[in-house]
């Protein structure tokens, strides 16, 4: 297994020919190439621009939007987008870090309609809000449910 490459500079130099690297050269704040998977971190304000840029570069299929809760460290939430390219036969992972006090990010439903359910799921289970989402409501849990079950400070067996 090759050692992981970390840092924007190192990754962008080693994979200068990669379509996603080219498309995101001006937007990336951090990058990682680990276990043959490319992860590019972008700032919260740039997520729609980043999605449009990779879409232009041939990454046409949004596979997944999910989140990781790094409680208690800050920024607490990592929103992860897995985007697949049918023509390049490759994936890119976009990551955005959000602080707990201000866990809001722009919705990308305008770029990929399939983000609709994925973002509702993240909202329901992590409590991250997506501004501009057409129908941001709980999708799994009842409307009056207290708390967001996949947060790390939510007990595994629920509140008693």
């Amino acid at each position: 297994m090759d050692a992981a490459l970390t840092g924007t500079q190192a990754v962008f130099e080693a994979h200068a020919h990669n379509a996603a690297v080219k498309a995101l050269s001006s937007l990336a704040t951090d990058a990682k190439f680990d276990r043959a998977e490319l992860t590019i971190t972008v700032a919260r304000e740039n997520i729609i621009a980043a999605c449009k840029a990779v879409q232009q570069a041939g990454y046409n299929f949004l596979e997944d939007v999910t989140a990781v809760d790094w409680y208690p460290s800050e920024p607490r939430f990592q929103i992860t987008y897995h985007i697949l390219s049918h023509s390049l036969k490759a994936r890119v992972r976009l990551a955005v870090r959000l602080n707990e006090g201000d866990a809001v990010i722009d919705s990308i439903v305008g770029v990929w309609p399939s983000a609709n359910f994925y973002e509702r799921e993240v909202f329901d289970l992590f409590g991250v809000r997506f501004s501009g989402h057409p129908n941001l409501r709980r999708i799994m849990m009842p409307e009056d449910w207290q708390g967001h079950p996949l947060r790390k400070d939510y007990p595994v067996e629920g509140y008693r």
Binding site: N60, H82, H86, W112, P113, E121, E143
Partner: protein, 418 residues
């Protein structure tokens, strides 16, 4: 005879249903001529707990909103509280029609994190069982889809062949449905001696049986009338809405992970990827029927080329030792004790591993913080995404077509909930 109740007693709370629907789904209130009806949560055509809130004008569908979240398995949360190896049985429960595929996706993801080499024999066994799982899952789809539309005979035939596959699973894993046969690093047991003969017997009869189903259905005017031109989903819509698997290929997109981003040694197998430009329920039927034939071919290749050797990787700190070794070697006993009581650490990092399940791209996103328990396991399930496309496929069609369309996307509700 009991007195007939007044009309308002017979039909209580249409307003309630509408208000309920609005509260949950945020759809605008229906027009004057339309009516809101609920299909499910327990409907014969939904094969699980799915509630569809349909707004209908006469018999045509004006809008459709799926209401999900009835199972509450809490599976992703549970994974975070288990050791890596204890998650394998949980992945069985995600999709009860393809447990082996889920095992594979999860094991591959963790193996990628560990950087573990899998022996070729284990890879072949995994491919063989995965393709049997695909046939088995498609048989359930075909049987229930045909039953929804009114053809009961096919259902009985399909379950006859499925039984053969479940017997094979039972002989190899000791379980018929929740097999948990795959392990991180390989598979759990060497298959019994009669396993290969059983598989060969099954592969000998299967092509003829698939022809039998086709004889019953393909030329049948009722079947054609109910399927052709129904549930249109264009390639652009399919990609935009995140549809994968047979529904994607039935919309004319030539994409199959087994061929295009091979995993677990799929690059060694020769097979075709069935694609159709029909974009309708009929195309999905044709694609899946051809897929079963291709799976039979892959199984035959796996059986013929089955390599000799170990079935687990050489990693004593991750894989439980043989029973015999454990009784005779102190070292093996210590490893066994440590794996069972403390698990094994997985280097920090994040991976996403997708496999082609019978329903589409089944992806596992596993994040490790270096401890023996996964920090986060997320499942990207094909049914969850395909469900979003249901409204596009059903809008403007008749209520009866909704049943045909749900059958054609081959939904499993276990995948949809978290």
């Amino acid at each position: 005879m009991a007195p007939v109740a007044a009309p308002d007693m017979l039909n209580p709370g249409v307003e309630d249903v509408v208000a309920d629907r609005n509260r949950h789904q945020g759809v605008p209130p229906p027009q004057d001529q339309t009516m809101v009806i609920n299909m499910g949560p327990q409907h014969p055509s939904t094969h699980g707990v799915l509630r569809l809130v349909l707004e209908i004008d006469g018999e045509s569908v004006v809008s459709l909103a799926p209401d999900i979240g009835y199972l509450h398995t809490g599976i992703e949360k549970t994974c975070e509280a288990k050791f890596y190896q204890q998650v394998v049985p949980l992945t069985d429960r995600i999709d009860y029609l393809c447990p082996m595929t889920n095992n594979l996706a999860y094991c591959l993801a963790v193996e990628k994190l560990l950087g573990l080499e899998i022996p070729e024999r284990a890879q072949y066994l995994r491919v063989l069982l995965n393709e049997l799982t695909r046939i088995q899952s498609h048989l359930v789809w075909l049987g229930t889809h045909a039953m929804d539309i009114g053809a009961l005979t096919v259902f009985l035939y399909c379950f006859r062949e499925r039984e053969d596959i479940l017997r094979i699973f039972e002989s190899v894993a000791g379980q018929r449905m929740m097999t948990s046969y795959f392990r991180i690093g390989g598979v759990s047991l060497e298959p019994p001696l009669d396993f290969y003969q059983k598989v060969q017997d099954f592969l000998n009869i299967m092509p003829e049986r698939i022809q039998q189903y086709e004889n019953l259905l393909t030329g049948n005017p009722i079947w054609m009338g109910r399927l052709k031109g129904i549930g249109h989903l264009s390639a652009a819509d399919a990609i935009a809405l995140g549809v994968t698997g047979p529904p994607l290929r039935a919309s004319g997109v030539d994409w199959d992970l087994r061929r295009d981003m091979p995993y677990s040694g799929y690059e060694k197998f020769k097979f075709n990827v069935p694609v159709s430009n029909g974009c309708d329920v009929w195309a999905r039927y044709v694609v899946r029927m051809d897929e079963m034939r291709e799976s039979v071919k892959i199984c035959q290749q796996a059986l013929d080329g089955m390599p000799e050797g170990r079935i687990v990787a050489d990693a004593p700190k991750i894989i439980l030792p043989d029973r015999e070794q454990m009784k005779t070697q102190m070292e093996a006993l210590i490893h066994h004790f440590k794996i069972v009581t403390e698990g094994f650490g997985v280097p920090a990092g994040e991976v996403f591993q997708a496999v082609e399940s019978p329903r589409g791209e089944m992806g596992y996103y596993v994040v490790s913080d270096g401890t023996a328990k996964p920090y986060r396991v997320h499942m990207r399930n094909p049914s969850y995404a395909t469900l979003q496309a249901l409204e596009t496929m059903c809008k403007g069609r008749l209520l009866a077509d909704v049943v045909a369309v749900i059958g054609s996307i081959d939904i499993v509700l276990g995948e949809i909930d978290r």
